[in-house]
């Protein structure tokens, strides 16, 4: 079952073709890695898919429905969750309140004026925090977290929406190797057990090849190669342009 299908996606910023005729799709339970050098257009792809920017050309279909041009909040409500390359929590709240806010939004309760936000979704929030390994930090201010923890919080907020499609922009940045491995295994488990489709980018190639089912290589906005991890790794063009020696 195809969850996400992008086709002929194009976006330019002034003279830069950030994303140029990109086409790919993801099925349920699949983990697709989007890799490429700095400035390849990976984050721009994410921003296009979650509606933060609109494409110049091309279409984006979610579960067969055309979502091109919808606003981020609408796309979020269709079950697309994302994390950000520059992770941002809600800095004036505690870690737990961040999750409570996201959970309230997920349960369509953001228009409740008279309920106590801090008494709601406590258990659900705790479960999510435990999942990403933030349980001990629940009462700390999101604004003072270490960067790796902020990335974790960002992911937990994305997961609070129970997404059918999860976009993760460099989820392991700022984490130690072992932590990153654990996070990747968590994502893999979510994909395998809940059938969540995952699109992610990561500069750590070990992490990419450890969990990706398929890899798409982007270079200056264009797809350079795609396929299963082994064939992409063996691809001479990719080796020359990107993986280089020793990476």
């Amino acid at each position: 079952m195809i969850v996400l299908a992008v086709s002929g996606l194009q976006k330019r910023f002034g003279g830069v073709r950030a994303v140029d005729d990109v086409t790919f799709s993801i099925v349920a339970g699949e983990i697709l890695a989007l890799i490429g050098p700095n400035g390849a257009g990976k984050s721009t792809c994410f921003n296009l898919i979650n509606g933060q920017i609109t494409p110049d050309h091309g279409t984006i279909h979610l579960h067969g429905r055309d979502i091109t041009g919808l606003a981020p909040r609408q796309i979020a409500r269709l079950g697309v969750g994302r994390s950000f390359q520059i992770a941002a929590g809600f800095a004036s709240m505690t870690v737990r309140q961040n999750l409570q806010t996201a959970l309230a939004a997920h349960h369509r309760q953001s228009w409740r004026f008279w309920h106590d936000a801090m008494g709601a979704h406590v258990a659900e929030a705790a479960a999510l925090l435990a999942r990403v390994g933030l349980a001990a930090q629940a009462d700390r201010a999101a604004g003072v977290l270490a960067y790796g923890d902020l990335k974790r919080l960002d992911l937990a907020i994305a997961l609070a929406g129970a997404p059918g499609l999860l976009l993760m922009d460099e989820p392991g940045a700022g984490m130690a190797l072992a932590e990153r491995g654990a996070l990747m295994r968590l994502v893999q488990k979510l994909a395998r057990e809940d059938g969540m489709a995952v699109l992610f980018t990561e500069h750590d190639m070990a992490a990419v090849f450890a969990i990706a089912d398929r890899v798409v290589v982007l270079d200056r906005g264009k797809i350079l190669a795609s396929g299963d991890p082994a064939s992409v790794r063996a691809n001479p063009v990719v080796q020359a342009r990107y993986l280089g020696s020793g990476r």
């Binding site: 004036s92 201010a141 604004g143």
Partner: protein, 602 residues
Amino acid sequence: MSFFLTQTLTGLASASSLFLVAAGLTVIFGVTRVVNFAHGSLCMLGAFIGWSILTRLPRDPAWFALGVLGTAAATALIGAALEIGLLRRIYRAPELFQLLATFGVVLVLADATLWLWGPNDLPLPRPPWLRQFVMIAGSRFPLFDLVLIAIGPLVLAGLLLVFHRTRWGVLVRAATQDRDMVAALGVDQRLLFTSVFALGAGLAGLGGVLALPAGSANLQIDLAVITEAFVIVVVGGLGSIGGAYLAAVLIGVLQAFGVVVLPGATLVLVFVVMAVVLVVRPYGLLGRDRGESRTDAEAVTLQRPAGLWQITAAGIGLALFLAAPLLFGPFAMAIATEMLVAMLFAASLHVMMGPGGMPSFGHAAWFGIGAYGAALLAQNLATPMPLALAGAPILAGLAAFAVGAFIVRLSGVYLAMLTLAFAQIVWAVAVQFVGLTGGDNGVLGVWPADPRGFYYVALGLCVGGVLILRRVLFSPFGFALRAGRDAPARAAASGIDMTAHRLAAFTLSGATAGLAGAIFTYSKGSAFPTYISVSHSVDALIMVLLGGIGSLAGPIIGAIAYTGLFDLLLATDFWRARLGAIIIALVLFFPAGLAGWAERRR
């Protein structure tokens, strides 16, 4: 045809002086990112200093020109002193604190001018050459206006030349784009900023002295000019000199025709134009999005519900308010009511400015709508007090909703400017629609039947109102609102409709301010245009920032401290200068506000 021509020329002449002041403001903002409220005061100083110089010089054109240049130089020096003495210390402070500090300067300069030159308007005796006319298309046109018309484009050309052809100008433009980059190049930023500020101040002084022949040096110039200059800078696009000229011409000409075609509605006209421009082009005519997402320092601190000591303090405070009429008599009751109203007013501003992230320079608009709403309901429809008190916030809320629908998408300074614009429209309506509002005389005789009973009604409404706001801020709605302020993209990606939440907060804030206004009307027995003045909007801002924007306790403490301070100072001479000095000191020494300071000390 000749009507058309002369009105256009008149408009262009006033555009020139508007442009001079606005150009200074826009240049200063472009580089230092400080919205300089004191710019109008510099213009006023230009008028007074110019008056002193020109009345002592021989009265021919050459000496006049020399005197004008001398005045500009003098205000430039004052500007430099201001930059070195104050602004330099607060460049890293949150935008609103800078604004507050420059408002402190406004107050100090207003009293300094009063002290130096006295309270009277000082017209410039006009020598024959200043009274000459030329015939244009069959009608007489003042010669001096033609001179003014020429000066605008001349100064524009001069500025463009300086900014594009000199090393200094290129550095200034680079700093406008990216000031840290310029610092990295090893340029002495301090000197650059001081010189830019001096240039801007000089232009303001020039504008002030050149407006002398058509008017007088008077103490109203500061606030009148700053509002107009803000409008022009915003319409033209912050930081754009060419945009400022375009906007000045647009507004000058529009005013010239408006005076004839729609007399009595010129103010409304100007602000309507501004609103239209900003709705169509949110960054002004020639402005660009600078990615102005600078989060204020307060935004990133954790917001906690009140702790034990705060609740205890609130309890003691409440007890004092309950006992005030019994213990201290009617005078204390009047002051206590003022404090309560201020508290609700400030708390309502906090909702939109703090958690909502929408600063307002025109919060008095909603207060005024509530005040006049209640007064007119009571006077014209003989509405009983409870109904009038209920109707006022509904009116204010509806107005806030209608205005908010257009502007909550905007950010930061632009949003604040549009709230200011709307407040000015409401103010103009109150002043100019004499038949309904009584104009400057206000609406009188709206007293409650039982003053002491009313005091407790006011106490209940104000405290209750604040408690309701508190509850809302800690509801899922309040959290979603705050989430949208803290990290807009993150919130949207979680499915939060930030625009709708902001609009709801804007409406709630307006309605609450309207309630405060209605209570105030009954406590004073009247409604006046001063309730809607710029300075009343600034009062609210000061109260919020004084207390600290980080929590709801801030505006409450701020309102009580400010009202108390105000009542203490009001009885003294030169109270404005004292108040201004206190504000400046507060910004310099308590940048997180009183509540924030207390929080940190614990």
